[in-house]
């Protein structure tokens, strides 16, 4: 969270100049350009996949509604959201397994309305892998080339390359039933990659793997993406996976896109309480706006806690109610009363979870709210349940969001 600190530092400096509108503009530009995970220059605006006002209804129920999405050439794009948010439907619309009820899907600038799945230059890695169990690994991988009637010698070369790419050369003549989960995953990847698609679609590709294998495959996915330069579109519900792999992320909720941005934009500057809560952990405090000027907002929660928050990030349509999001790692925990940090409250430790490098504490405030605090594990501290503590954070370490 160096970035967040860095940005808010600049913002504080700029805020002293006044003019909140100018600052808001500045922030927007900065958050797009400073982010470290942007590997692509902004000038590159070739779109591989574009969704224009796309909706999909299943028997009157909207799975997704009026979605706009622009996925750039060569980027690793993740669609992130809880189950049932419409992320898989979005992917299936791009693949061509579903037709949009309204709107338009474009791949490399071409309208896909009348193009069936088998004529699209995209390939999918299915969540269940969907390997053909009546074919060997080699035949699975060469399937796409065989149905396109590619010559034998060229085909075999491509299959050998693909097998090598996913390190499965020695399994070429096995059947899928004889492979482990991770090996099936590699075969599914190779089967899609061998066709050299313009866009790779990955539907929860690592969902069925255990933690260690998942970490390993995450690294391999990143390597493959960099090696091949193909656009990857991945659907996942695992926010950590999305943050660590993607160039950009679209966060979805109830068939809508809540926010699109780089991992750091999404994490440091969530635009809605949902995004703040879904990506990482956060404390949300809802309250009425008691006082507002160009720099600062003061909120009063129903429990009677007053919270100060910098206004710079706030995108508030009205100034009546707002939600403050404060990350657990931005809250300081101390046993002595801290120097004035803006927001400072007393309470006691309710639960404590030992995580090795960190302590995960739930602090019960005297006013009634509970806050989650992530505290670096220092040996001099002796925190036990019922220990009276103070929690504090700067107004610049939290965000005000529309309720």
């Amino acid at each position: 969270m160096m970035l967040s600190k860095y940005l808010s530092g600049i913002l504080l400096v700029e805020m002293s100049l006044g003019n909140s509108a100018a600052i808001r503009g500045t922030t927007l530009i900065m958050s797009q350009t400073v982010s470290p995970s942007i590997a692509l220059p902004q000038t590159q605006q070739v779109l591989d996949v574009e969704l224009r006002q796309v909706s999909k209804y299943f028997g009157g129920e909207a799975a997704i509604q009026n979605i706009d999405l622009k996925i750039r050439e060569g980027e690793f794009f993740s669609i992130l959201g809880p189950s049932g948010c419409g992320k898989t439907t979005t992917l299936r619309l791009i693949a061509g397994f579903e037709q949009p009820s309204a709107g338009m899907v474009l791949i490399q600038g071409r309208d896909m309305s009348r193009i069936p799945a088998h004529r699209r230059s995209v390939n999918t890695v299915f969540q269940s892998y969907a390997l053909f169990n009546h074919m060997t690994v080699k035949d699975n991988i060469s399937f796409g080339l065989r149905v396109k009637r590619m010559g034998r010698s060229q085909r075999e070369q491509r299959v050998a390359d693909a097998l090598q790419l996913v390190k499965m050369e020695s399994f070429a003549n096995r059947y899928p039933q004889q492979l482990s989960g991770g090996q099936k995953q590699r075969v599914a990847l190779a089967r899609a990659l061998v066709n050299r698609p313009a866009v790779m679609l990955l539907d929860e590709p690592l969902g069925a793997l255990d933690l260690k294998l998942r970490k390993q495959m995450q690294v391999e996915l990143t390597n493959l993406h960099q090696q091949l330069g193909i656009t990857f579109v991945m659907v996942t519900h695992d926010q950590e996976e999305a943050l660590s792999l993607s160039n950009r992320i679209a966060v979805m909720k109830d068939g809508d896109i809540e926010q699109i941005g780089t991992p750091s934009e999404i994490y440091d500057y969530p635009q809605t309480p949902f995004v703040a809560d879904f990506i990482g952990e956060t404390n949300l405090l809802q309250g009425e706006v008691e006082f507002a000027d160009s720099q600062i907002l003061r909120l009063l929660t129903p429990e009677g806690t007053t919270v100060l928050v910098n206004r710079s990030e706030a995108n508030l349509p009205d100034l009546k109610t707002a939600v403050v999001s404060v990350r657990p790692e931005n809250i300081r925990l101390s046993q002595e009363a801290p120097l004035n940090e803006g927001n400072c409250y007393s309470g006691y430790v309710k639960h404590i979870m030992y995580l090795g490098t960190h302590l995960h504490c739930v602090v019960q405030l005297q006013t009634g709210e509970r806050l989650t605090v992530m505290q670096p594990n220092r040996s001099e501290q002796s925190l036990t349940p019922e220990t009276p503590v103070y929690v504090s954070w700067l107004p610049s370490d939290c965000l005000a969001l529309a309720a």
Partner: protein
């Protein structure tokens, strides 16, 4: 095993022995009812038929002329004085009817089962399946009689053909004697066994993983390529099971060939019936023909089981 002088297999502690005994007892208890049933009503009668088939010219109330292969020789040995090629013709015709029925059921049943399992609206699916097997709720005898009224010279089919001819002047469509022909037998058998084929294929297609079809399309396969390279191989065990069932049951069917077939469409089941209950009354020959049929069907089952298992053999 070579290290220990006494083989380990035979060293059971009393506790282990009692456990082994209990396991054996459990298995016997589970298998006994069906085992007894099979021995009493399948194995023993088959042995009885085998015994009778070895007595040439055995008629009811007679003791026969001792043991011999005379009955089989009459059917298969062209150098036997009693040989008559009509038996081989009948066996051949039965195989032809069974094969034709199986093919017709497969060709007509697959599209129906495919539509039911993959394309029909989900909430109508069960209703449609039931609707399709509804004919099975009526007696096969009744259904055969229904076909008689359709196929007889003044029946529905000929009336329809006549109506078509009168509507199309200049075109003379032939009105045929449909009944008592091979065509009538094939129609009746196909009608009878199509629901079984559809049910089995439906069960197989319903289990088909849709994502496999999507994966094939995703990899660029046209619907036709997907069908032949994914759908058919994936449902091959179901296809084999359906064909096996229809082949065997249509080969053994007695009602349809008897009621819809004429003198020229004698089948092995009718022939056997004649040997036991008809005018000919040659139990020895009837038993021999029964044994031939049992053997043929068993061989079909063995072949198809082996063929159906080929994939799993390859896997192992």
């Amino acid at each position: 095993m070579t290290a220990s002088p006494t083989s380990k297999r035979w060293h059971f502690s009393p506790l282990e022995l009692s456990q082994q005994f209990k396991r054996l007892l459990g298995a016997l208890t589970l298998l006994a009812p069906s085992g007894l049933w099979l021995i009493l009503f399948l194995v023993l009668p088959t042995l009885l038929i085998l015994d009778i088939s070895l007595v040439p010219g055995l008629r009811p109330g007679e003791s026969g002329d001792g043991y011999g292969l005379g009955n089989y020789s009459r059917v298969f040995n062209p150098f036997d004085a009693a040989f008559d090629s009509v038996y081989l013709q009948v066996i051949g015709r039965s195989l032809y009817y069974a094969t034709g029925t199986t093919l017709a059921c497969l060709l007509m049943g697959f599209p129906v089962a495919y539509w039911l399992a993959l394309m029909a609206p989900r909430r109508w699916r069960n209703f449609l399946v039931v609707a399709f097997i509804l004919p099975l709720w009526t007696s096969s005898l009744l259904r055969a009689y229904a076909w008689i009224s359709i196929l007889r010279p003044s029946g529905l089919l000929n009336s329809f053909i006549g109506w078509l001819s009168s509507g199309l002047p200049g075109v003379q469509l032939p009105e045929q004697a449909w009944l008592y022909s091979s065509a009538a037998v094939l129609i009746g058998l196909t009608y009878n066994f199509l629901p079984y084929m559809v049910l089995i294929l439906y069960a197989s297609l319903e289990k088909l993983d849709i994502s496999l079809l999507e994966a094939a399309a995703d990899l660029g396969a046209t619907p036709r390529q997907t069908f032949w390279q994914v759908t058919v191989p994936q449902t091959l065990p179901g296809i084999a099971a359906g064909c096996l069932l229809v082949f065997i049951t249509s080969m053994g069917d007695f009602v349809v060939p008897t009621l819809l077939g004429g003198a020229s469409s004698m089948t092995i089941s009718r022939l056997i019936y004649n040997q036991f209950l008809g005018i000919t009354r040659n139990w020895g020959l009837g038993s021999a023909l029964s044994m031939v049929m049992i053997l043929a069907v068993s061989m079909m089952i063995a072949l198809l089981l082996k063929y159906g298992d080929r994939d799993s053999v390859k896997e192992a």
